[in-house]
């Protein structure tokens, strides 16, 4: 994308998350725990043309970087996203992403009889069993969930 075509301006310091499957930008923000009340300037572009993907979403967050743990969580809903950390208008770091081996919190076990849905101290813990297609397993009751279920929960 040349500067002329930019829908939003470049950011000085922060994070640009590109190649998000179209329609999932809000879910990415949710995974990062950003709901707008934090005060970050956030630019969100949805359903723009992409050579690779047809349509895609982009998220730019000014004033906040994402760490490795967060970028791994993003793979759950946007496996091919690219995450660039920006300082002084330049990309200083491209985050390498892989599906996290353990996911704590965030997701809910769909099994109503799972201990994690019935004890205030039992927090969810999922372990990854397959990256592509995505399948993760509740560490307590072993219920497996797929990408579709993860997206349904995060969206």
């Amino acid at each position: 994308m040349s500067d002329k075509e930019l829908l939003v301006t470049k950011i000085n310091y922060g994070t640009v998350i590109d190649h998000i499957p179209s329609g999932r930008a809000l879910a990415v923000l949710r995974v990062l725990g950003i709901n707008g009340s934090e005060g970050y300037r956030v630019a969100l572009v949805m359903n723009v043309e992409s050579k690779k993907m047809g349509r895609k979403d982009i998220v730019k967050i000014s004033g906040r970087t994402v760490d490795e743990k967060e970028s791994n969580l993003i793979t759950l809903i946007a496996p091919n996203a690219t995450i660039n950390i920006i300082k002084d208008y330049e990309v200083v770091k491209k985050m390498k992403m892989k599906v996290p081996s353990v996911i704590r919190g965030i997701l809910k076990c769909p099994n109503p009889s799972c201990i994690t849905n019935n004890d205030p101290e039992a927090f969810t813990k999922f372990v990854s069993i397959s990256e592509n297609p995505l399948r993760i397993k509740c560490d307590y009751c072993e219920t497996t969930i797929t990408e579709a279920e993860v997206i349904k929960q995060v969206l």
């Binding site: 009889s113 101290e121 069993i129 497996t144």
Partner: protein
């Protein structure tokens, strides 16, 4: 870190053989020992149980230990809203080992993450019941002398049956022959359990097709509440009933096991046949659980 027994998958082949050898040894000693003298075992049965609770209780006492605990949530502080976590924290300070039975899936694993003393899973929801599986395979070993190469036919509710899950997973530590899983379509084994097995399974809804190949027929109860339609339940119940004619199609040297309680999935007239080994199986519960307790907190001689 304490040694817990949550899933059959937690046990190595070596540990399983050790438990079986210990069970043999306890039998020779008339199921008595003094190795738990001065020790207290908590039996935390949040869900009612007759066999499992009593055989654990008996096992501990026969080893010279004492038991504390409760046999249902009723009348305990759990009923007043105490969480599992808090109950476990209390029991771990009163005891050297906690045996837990709970209706929720994953409860035993959760307890093991809180407890400083070992946890033995005595059944958690539809998840696992590993000590039952140890009794099942120990029975096979007692009757046949070996487990490898035998054909197993598992019948009934394979979707919600925790004993079945634990049995199949315990079999992954051995080299069984063919494994037939016989159930109505809606009660087939869950994928997450099947995925943890290291042998192929043959799934069918017809017992007649496979019964003559079984060395071990493992029967489980099909519960009415799993069916939306009562007529459907009655039909299924009849087609999976083990009666004299079923046994007539079985190999002469085969055996029938059942984790009990039995309702009417095995005709009472079968009880007298040589293949019926389910009461013998239940009678081995104490010595196997002694073996498990020994493995977890017993003295190393």
């Amino acid at each position: 870190m304490p040694k817990h027994v949550i899933s059959s998958l937690d046990l190595s082949k070596e540990e399983i053989e050790l438990i079986f050898d210990e069970a043999d040894r306890y039998e020779k000693l008339n199921r008595t020992s003094k190795e738990l003298e001065g020790k207290v075992v908590a039996l935390a049965f949040f869900e009612p149980s007759t066999r499992t609770r009593n055989s654990f209780d008996s096992a501990v006492q026969r080893m010279g230990g004492r038991t504390i605990g409760f046999s249902s949530s009723e009348g305990t502080s759990v009923e007043k809203g105490e969480t599992i976590a808090d109950t476990v924290r209390m029991l771990e300070s009163y005891s050297d080992l906690i045996v837990i039975r709970h209706k929720l899936d994953g409860a035993a694993k959760f307890a093991s993450e809180i407890s400083k003393v070992p946890i033995i899973n005595a059944g958690d929801g539809k998840h696992e019941h590993p000590t039952q599986a140890l009794i099942d395979l120990y029975t096979v070993r007692k009757v046949k002398g070996y487990i490898d190469s035998l054909n197993f036919c598992v019948l009934g509710d394979l979707k919600y049956g925790r004993a079945v899950n634990s049995l199949l997973r315990l079999l992954t530590k051995f080299k069984p022959g063919k494994i037939f899983l016989v159930s109505p379509q809606q009660l087939r084994i869950r994928t997450e359990v099947k995925d943890t097995l290291n042998f192929p399974v043959i799934e069918t809804d017809s017992l007649q097709d496979v019964i003559d190949m079984a060395d071990v027929l493992y029967v489980t109860r099909i519960q009415k509440e799993r069916f939306a339609d009562e007529i459907e339940f009655e039909k299924v119940k009849e087609s999976y009933k083990v009666d004299i004619s079923t046994v007539n199609s079985m190999r002469k040297d085969s055996m029938i096991l059942h984790p009990l309680p039995r309702v009417n999935e095995i005709d009472r007239r079968v009880d007298k046949l040589p293949q019926a080994k389910y009461f013998y199986q239940a009678s081995l519960g104490v010595q196997v659980r002694m073996g498990v307790i020994h493995q977890v907190i017993g003295d190393s001689r």
